[in-house]
Symmetry: C2
Subunit: 327 residues, 2 copies
């Protein structure tokens, strides 16, 4: 059984398969949508894997469920814990709720009330910290000591990466059901959990499929890491694609450095434009982060023209009162 300290290089496609069997009762096989209009616009055949339709609104339920349902009963009883104010906190709360165990979430007291409410709706127990790294670390250490809860990192955890890897396994199957063969997959990159899972699956099951990571220009630490050959972490990047601000870590760097074909970037305006185009023509509610791949496809037509391209729509938790094109 995997745990948080499993050596990343030992993960195999069998770990992905075991994860898929473990989480299948708790996740959705989300639909793949397409649009003649977007195909004409890009000159490619785009297959959008809509992880925004997961119950908790993001692919992160896959990794969270794999971590939670892989725990032995004694460990599980003490619960799980994480520090995140985003989709991982929601997803871990959702997964823990499905297993009936506690989920402790350390969040800055300044996080939006809507995000706190969403975590609580899924049963997560919030401990507030000050909005600084030192306060977060100290608070988290205290929560962990008091509860004995198992830490589940949002993306650097091998169990999480194996869970995210199930997404592209489904995408391969669904493309085949649609009579298509993927030439490439594009996914957004923040900490690299989704991209790492994509690498784990495709390198084994479809090694000919190119893997592109899409990143905001204003948070391009993965792009610069990829070019430099080592991890570069920014301090506090600012981008509308707020799910993508976090840096790579050693376990995701393992996959990014070995299996990613290229990393492309897009400007803030290009991201917002691609987001609005997708809402209008695919008619889905998705986060700005999910628009970075289409922005990169529109910006680099020579990479994608004439090819069948899987695009991962990573999440759909947005503030409907503050859409970026209305601000």
């Amino acid at each position: 059984m995997l745990d948080a300290t499993t050596e990343i290089a030992t993960l195999t496609i069998e770990d992905m398969r075991a994860a898929h069997d473990r989480i299948r009762p708790h996740i959705r096989r989300t639909p793949v949508l397409r649009s003649d209009y977007l195909d004409t616009l890009t000159g490619a055949r785009l297959l959008f894997k809509c992880e925004n339709f997961q119950e908790a609104g993001a692919f992160k339920v896959r990794g969270a469920c794999n971590a939670v349902f892989g725990l032995d009963d004694e460990t599980a009883r003490r619960g799980v814990a994480t520090h995140s104010s985003g989709n991982h906190a929601l997803s871990l709360s959702y997964a823990a709720g499905r297993r009936g165990i506690p989920c402790h979430v350390v969040m800055p007291r300044t996080a939006p009330e809507a995000k706190k409410d969403a975590v609580r709706r899924y049963g997560g127990r919030i401990t507030e910290c000050e909005p600084s790294t030192s306060s977060r670390e100290a608070t988290f250490a205290r929560v962990q000591e008091e509860t004995g809860a198992e830490f589940v990192h949002p993306y650097n955890d091998p169990r999480v990466i194996c869970g995210q890897a199930t997404c592209s396994a489904e995408l391969l199957e669904q493309a085949a059901e649609m009579g298509a063969t993927l030439d490439a997959v594009v996914a957004p990159i923040g900490g690299g959990g989704m991209i790492s899972g994509t690498c784990l699956t495709l390198s084994a099951l479809a090694p000919g499929v190119a893997i592109y990571a899409a990143e905001p220009e204003q948070a391009d630490d993965a792009f610069r890491s990829f070019k430099a050959g080592h991890i570069i972490a920014d301090d506090a990047p600012e981008t509308v694609a707020d799910g993508l601000k976090v840096p790579l870590k050693e376990n995701t760097w393992h996959f990014v450095s070995r299996f990613v074909t290229d990393i492309q970037t897009a400007s803030e305006a290009e991201i917002v434009e691609a987001m609005k185009i997708t809402w209008k023509h695919l008619r889905i509610v998705m986060e700005p982060s999910c628009a970075v791949p289409l922005a990169c496809i529109l910006k680099n037509p020579e990479t994608y023209r004439g090819r069948t391209v899987g695009v991962v729509i990573t999440g759909g938790n947005v503030d409907l009162d503050r859409l970026p094109w209305t601000l």
Copy 2:
């Protein structure tokens, strides 16, 4: 072969099946989505049939494709025509484009440019009229005389009703695939095309399934017709659910009066609230009209609690710069 003058009482489930075979290459078998959150909120098990994911953004492509692809070659060559500034005009343009024949659309010159652009994007040829019934009728008569195009009414045409009927046939199949058995279906009612198709299919294939029509309080002519036992047509109702302003006609009244279980209504505020809830928790872009069913479900919990309910999401063509909760 059906035509615009086919006696409505002669339609059978075989006409629906023939329509489905005819249009299958041109439409999508749209996914059925669900949400634990919405199920908990309503106490029902809701299956949302997402016709907003049709290429032209609405179920109306089903009826339009059935009409267009059922024409003999000589008639088809002269094209089709309609007067509509909404989803039927888009859908008929889309269908005609797939067959490579002209589609003439008479629209008020005051219609929003975005709607005119969308019709043109699908190849529709617009003739503008003044925004009055007399101008529309005179202009339409002239276009038809000049072109010889076949008139396809947005909902009173038997070919259109048979096309719309394919939607609930798919919903029945998809519910079964999900291990569910429908107790009821709720769809919005305007002119009654979708509801009539639903009646045609369910009365034959699943007569035990209750059929509810959902209507805005401020455009409740179908509700009042249903109670009175004859068609009552309002002059110019005003509602945020702008797809639902049109009155019943004799062919849709045939089905509504015979097969509908009940018609329920919701206020403007209830519609907008249900729309926002669906965008947030189902994470789809849909029109205000599609929110009327959920608004009625929330308002009449005793009708739906504990039941498995199909909800037709009819379309997703909205102005993203003018969402009703931001106005």
